[in-house]
């Protein structure tokens, strides 16, 4: 990727992230300076093709939703999974809202469609998944976090992955919440890791404040960031807001993913956060899709590239 980092800048400090916008531009952000190159150019190709280990981030599949602008999200889920498969990912992370209404049939349909890809998938719960009966139907199908109530960690290809649940026991007027139990787990879990281990944290609600009036943030994310402060490469992947958003803070790169079901408005741009119903024809698939995440050798930060179904 970029070879012109300033000489006195530790490579670990040169956080880079990439995303494809709907315009077909490949953006590279290095040291806070965005650069773009047209898709299909050699530079763009080189940037996207590097690296051995890659996985897909998918979110907000909302099976059971059946209104404008997308009467059948199973179709767009299947299209998203075709896109995911084309990347030949090592695995997939789903950052929640698998279903719309937490109904058993919705969970079964989602599990059936996603399992058919053969891609190993790790799930974080969304509030739509665990709103009834302490998430019984979610954890029955996706048992990885069942014992703890939704948090766990694992290692793959030298990267340490942490799944958090910040959607249970939401308090009136408040944003998402990690809670003392999970922060304690995290402290113990991270204590054995060296500072050079790349860390990926995934959870449903954004782990930074995107828009407080809509609850788009996490109350106790500052405590999480303190625990992560000594690590050289931290990538945070979230869903919930049904649009891509990025932020880099020190060694921590925050990314949200698109939904595969319906887009939501930019923060504060409409009276409420409901689905964007009045999309012009042909626009829906430009706003749905997946993220591809790649570990590029000799780069500390993971490259996160958003890939809409069209455009």
């Amino acid at each position: 990727m970029r070879k012109d980092d300033t000489p006195n800048q530790d490579r670990r400090h040169a956080l880079e992230c990439m995303l494809w916008g709907g315009s077909g531009l490949l953006w590279t952000v290095a040291g806070g300076v965005p650069r773009s190159s047209l898709l299909g150019t050699p530079e763009a190709h080189a940037q996207s093709a590097q690296g051995g280990f890659s996985f897909v981030h998918i979110s907000d599949t909302h099976l059971g939703f059946n209104m404008a602008p997308n009467p059948d999200p199973t179709v767009t889920l299947q299209e998203s999974l075709e896109r995911a498969k084309s990347f030949r990912p090592a695995m997939m992370l789903h950052t929640g809202d698998v279903t719309h209404l937490s109904r058993p049939g919705e969970f079964d349909r989602a599990a059936q469609i996603i399992n058919a890809t053969g891609i190993e998938t790790h799930y974080a719960p969304g509030e739509h998944d665990v709103v009834e009966d302490d998430g019984k139907d979610f954890f029955q199908r996706f048992p990885q976090g069942a014992r703890t109530g939704g948090f766990y960690s694992f290692d793959q290809a030298g990267v340490h992955f942490i799944c958090l649940n910040n959607v249970t026991n939401l308090q009136a007027g408040k944003m998402g919440m990690i809670g003392a139990q999970q922060l304690h787990f995290l402290e113990q879990d991270l204590s054995a890791r060296s500072a050079s281990t790349p860390i990926v944290v995934f959870a449903h609600i954004p782990l930074w404040v995107v828009h407080e009036p809509w609850g788009w943030g996490t109350e106790d994310s500052a405590q999480l960031l303190r625990l992560l402060a000594r690590f050289g490469s931290v990538t945070v992947l979230n869903g919930h807001i049904h649009q891509t958003m990025q932020k880099v803070e020190g060694h921590v790169a925050f990314h949200t993913g698109m939904s595969t079901a319906f887009p939501q408005p930019a923060p504060g741009s409409r009276p409420s956060a409901g689905p964007i119903r009045d999309l012009p024809p042909g626009e829906l698939r430009k706003l749905l899709g997946v993220n591809r995440v790649t570990r590029v050798q000799n780069q500390a930060a993971l490259a996160v590239v958003s890939s809409p179904l069209e455009g």
Partner: protein
């Protein structure tokens, strides 16, 4: 669902005509655009309150009291939740899917 909506819509007219029947008539909170309308509803003891989700997003109705005075299942579009308030008091609630949505029922 259509007939139920008609009944609810006609409730205010009945109230005006027969004030003595007030406690027997259900009162309605409409959920739309990620909000409860009205956010504060005043009713007499014994009144049944009906929350009607007219939004294209699912919501619920969860008491903030400990222990909770009431809690609905998740309400899809056009689904309703009913609760009858027997005792005077102020009952605050919120949507546990969208916690910035808050309302209260004042019974007295």
């Amino acid at each position: 669902m259509q007939s139920r909506r008609f009944l609810l819509a006609s409730a205010p007219a009945l109230l005006a005509a027969i004030p003595m029947a007030q406690a027997q008539q259900p009162a309605t909170v409409t959920i739309d655009d990620h909000d409860y309308a009205p956010r504060e509803l005043r009713v007499a003891p014994g009144t049944k309150v009906v929350w009607n989700n007219k939004d294209d997003t699912p919501h619920n109705v969860v008491s903030t009291d400990n222990p909770r005075a009431f809690r609905s299942r998740i309400l899809d579009t056009d689904e309703v939740f009913e609760f009858t308030f027997a005792s005077p008091g102020t009952y605050s609630y919120y949507c546990s899917l969208h916690p910035h949505m808050q309302g209260r029922i004042v019974v007295g």
